[in-house]
């Protein structure tokens, strides 16, 4: 293992030999007028719904550039398509690092693509900032000091649900619907973790689905048949909407939890039926643009103005676009903090030194904090329940 790493470092050194001669050897991708950063996005292929994240971030940096950039430098985001296929991700990331010579990577999307490039980027000491996935493996500063997550990881969120279930319904029988990939399984692991060995029996039934399946109706029927009285829905928006509707249509009186990925009012609850969504519980960190309660909120107005100028109404209601807006804002803060020292070392250091950063779309009171031992920028979440019209926050800010 050790020999392999040192070997790769030496080959990386060869790769950077070209830039070693110049005065800016320690700051690839940076000139006095520009900073070049890179990312991979699934613009084509099965996960193309997430391409909106890259488009929103490109638009955000365009806005920043029109306002003069950061410290006089324009931001040049090179966003490449990887089709959500790890071999392609590796290829594109090597192009970004070795050919385009970007300063660092920002919001590369997806668990498998990020898993495929993490070792390479750490070996070469290229920051892999704010990866766009909630897998817990990307917040591990001890082993991978150059890789940082962004959103609350899936396991943390699952812990919050488990604790809430234990506190409110200690004799619950839980049925879980989950997507059969690393996203769904991470929640399942988190749930089992938090319940612990003594409550392991509380999960009476697990049912998975594939994204290639047309519906999850059959799984919901199975879960209801198991006698569960708590229903945890770990699904992407389309399947979550189906599960919410089906569980209501079946007359199943379970307490229903839905994950943050699919808690959008416009794109999940409305298709499912607002009446049918009553009583849902979720944990959240952001303001839902389609929730009427934020209509007059300052941050929300900012987001609306941004969408009107740079994007479209489709993006305004898209959960992923709002998410990208926050990530891009965090990135700008890191660049501002880095000042004129945009070396990879310093950018990584500043990314791990965010203090009480507030963002327009974060819930009131919620702040972003990082440190050299804390690589999870957003850790807080708050529970809320749906009253048929908007999400009502309850309880205090929680940290899994």
């Amino acid at each position: 293992m050790l020999t392999r790493r040192s070997f790769l470092q030496s080959s990386a050194a060869a790769a950077f030999a070209a830039s070693a001669g110049s005065a800016r050897a320690e700051t690839p991708g940076v000139t006095d007028t520009e900073i070049k950063i890179g990312q991979t996005m699934p613009y084509s292929g099965p996960a193309s719904a997430y391409g909106v994240i890259g488009r929103t971030e490109t638009a955000y940096f365009k806005m920043i550039n029109e306002q003069g950039g950061v410290n006089g430098r324009k931001i040049n985001l090179i966003s490449l398509d990887d089709g959500y296929s790890p071999p392609k991700t590796v290829e594109q990331v090597r192009r970004l690092v070795e050919e385009e010579k970007v300063a660092f990577l920002f919001q590369t999307l997806g668990t498998p693509p990020n898993a495929a490039i993490r070792q390479y980027l750490n070996d070469n000491k290229v920051p892999q900032l704010f990866v766009a996935t909630g897998a817990s493996m990307f917040s591990d500063p001890q082993h991978f000091p150059w890789t940082m997550g962004y959103n609350p990881n899936y396991q943390t969120e699952a812990h919050i649900y488990a604790k809430h279930i234990l506190a409110t319904k200690p004799d619950a029988k839980i049925g879980v619907l989950y997507q059969n990939d690393s996203f769904g399984k991470d929640y399942l692991i988190g749930m089992k973790d938090a319940l612990g060995a003594e409550h392991a029996g509380m999960i009476v039934k697990e049912a998975s689905y594939e994204t290639s399946e047309p519906t999850v109706d059959s799984q919901v029927v199975t879960l209801q048949g198991s006698g569960a009285d708590v229903f945890l829905i770990v699904a992407t928006p389309k399947f979550a909407a189906q599960a919410i509707r089906k569980s209501f249509d079946l007359g199943w009186n379970a307490v229903r939890y839905v994950t943050i990925v699919s808690a959008s009012i416009a794109t999940v609850l409305k298709p499912a039926g607002l009446e049918k969504s009553k009583g849902l519980i979720t944990a959240t960190f952001g303001k839902d643009p389609t929730d009427p309660r934020w209509k007059d909120d300052g941050g929300m107005k900012e987001w609306a103005a941004f969408c009107a100028k740079y994007l479209s109404p489709t993006e305004f209601i898209d959960y992923n676009a709002g998410y990208a807006y926050g990530a891009a804002g965090t990135m700008i803060q890191v660049l501002k903090q880095s000042g004129n020292d945009l070396s990879r070392d310093n950018v990584m250091k500043q990314a791990a030194n965010l203090k009480d950063l507030e963002l327009p779309l974060l819930l009131p009171g919620m702040r972003i904090n990082t440190s050299p031992t804390n690589y999870s920028p957003i850790r807080q979440m708050q529970l809320s329940t749906f009253d048929g019209e908007s999400w009502q926050l309850f309880g205090e800010l929680l940290m899994g």
Binding site: A14, S79, S85, P86, P87, V90, A116, Y120, K185
Partner: protein, 331 residues
């Protein structure tokens, strides 16, 4: 069958391509070497599929499954059992041969479309089977497996150069093997079974044996490619082997030219580089058009088929005939 001069020409072209391919690692950057390795890996998989579909007429929409077995086989053998990569790839591809040979038996019962469905089903089911929790201990479930990069012997070359050369070696050997298979007695039998199955049987060709063995050999090629891919990428996960991989293999052999062994190189270049091209072109349609690389790729696909319905190899053959025709008249 083939005149002496065109045979010599062909050998000349083959040697020239090989010479370029050998010189490449000493001129190109690590990134381009990675791309080069990907092209060679795809070409190996396409060789296998072309033996099956082009020469033997058995369509497969599921070769991604065998590619996955090769990839996971190599990953599990190297990472969980400590087998060296140069031993792991042959072992994994032998497993693929077995799997392909066995799959060839039900395939005997199916004609064109039904075989397409059966293999399509295989491709659809692959990611699900790979992430099945019963196999988690070996496959890492949906997390996948990370692989160490192999060293060059004595540290003479960088890892990228070495991996590229290993891929080139495998590709050259497998090309040579495929060439011998396809142009000899066996190749004639395979083609006879494709074009005149009943006549072939009455001539005493054991069609069943040929067809199942062909399936096995084809799967073996896909397995070698999958194993090399796992090592070159350093990572396998169910997402690496989705339905689109199987479909891109089919695209590759048709674009390259059915039943053309040299054509696979063009097919491999197409599936490696045209998606990147589509991504770059999409920028020209405005910022919101970042959603379009899929559509541009589709369009390029249709255009190239319209321009060369028999693939690049067919078009080259046609061009060569045109060029040769006037000369033939004057002599």
């Amino acid at each position: 069958m083939m005149s002496g001069s065109s045979g010599r020409q062909r050998r000349g072209v083959t040697l020239a391509v090989l010479a370029c391919a050998i010189a490449f690692p000493f001129l190109a950057s690590g990134y381009h070497l990675y791309q080069g390795a990907q092209v060679l890996i795809l070409a190996i998989a396409l060789l296998g599929l072309n033996l099956l579909t082009g020469f033997n007429g058995q369509i497969s929409l599921g070769h991604g499954a065998f590619f996955a077995i090769g990839g996971y086989g190599a990953a599990i053998l190297t990472e969980k059992f400590g087998v060296a990569y140069w031993a792991a790839i042959p072992i994994a591809s032998l497993v693929c041969f077995g799997a392909g040979f066995l799959f060839g038996f039900p395939a005997l019962r199916f004609g064109g479309l039904y075989l397409a469905l059966a293999t399509f089903a295989l491709a659809v089911a692959t990611p699900q089977i790979l992430s099945y929790k019963g196999f988690d201990a070996w496959t890492g479930g949906s997390q996948g497996v990370l692989l160490a990069k192999p060293h060059a012997p004595f540290g003479l070359l960088t890892a990228d150069q070495w991996i590229y050369l290993v891929c080139l070696f495998c590709a050259a050997v497998l090309y040579w093997a495929a060439r011998n298979l396809a142009t000899g007695r066996i190749g004639r039998a395979l083609i006879a079974i494709r074009d005149q199955p009943i006549a072939a049987e009455t001539m005493g060709v054991n069609a069943a044996l040929y067809k199942t063995t062909c399936f096995g050999v084809s799967a073996l090629y896909a397995g070698v490619a999958g194993g090399l891919s796992a090592i070159a990428v350093g990572f396998v996960s169910p997402e690496s082997f989705g339905l689109s991989l199987s479909l891109s293999f089919l695209v590759g052999i048709v674009v390259g030219g059915l039943a053309s062994l040299g054509g696979v190189l063009f097919g491999a270049l197409f599936i490696e580089f045209v998606p990147n091209l589509a991504d770059q072109l999409s920028v020209n349609f405005g910022e919101s058009a970042k959603a379009l690389p899929g559509a541009i790729y589709g369009l390029l696909l249709i255009l190239i088929m319209a321009a060369m319905p028999t693939g690049v190899a067919g078009a080259l053959r046609f061009a060569a005939r045109l060029a040769a025709a006037p000369g033939a008249r004057s002599s």
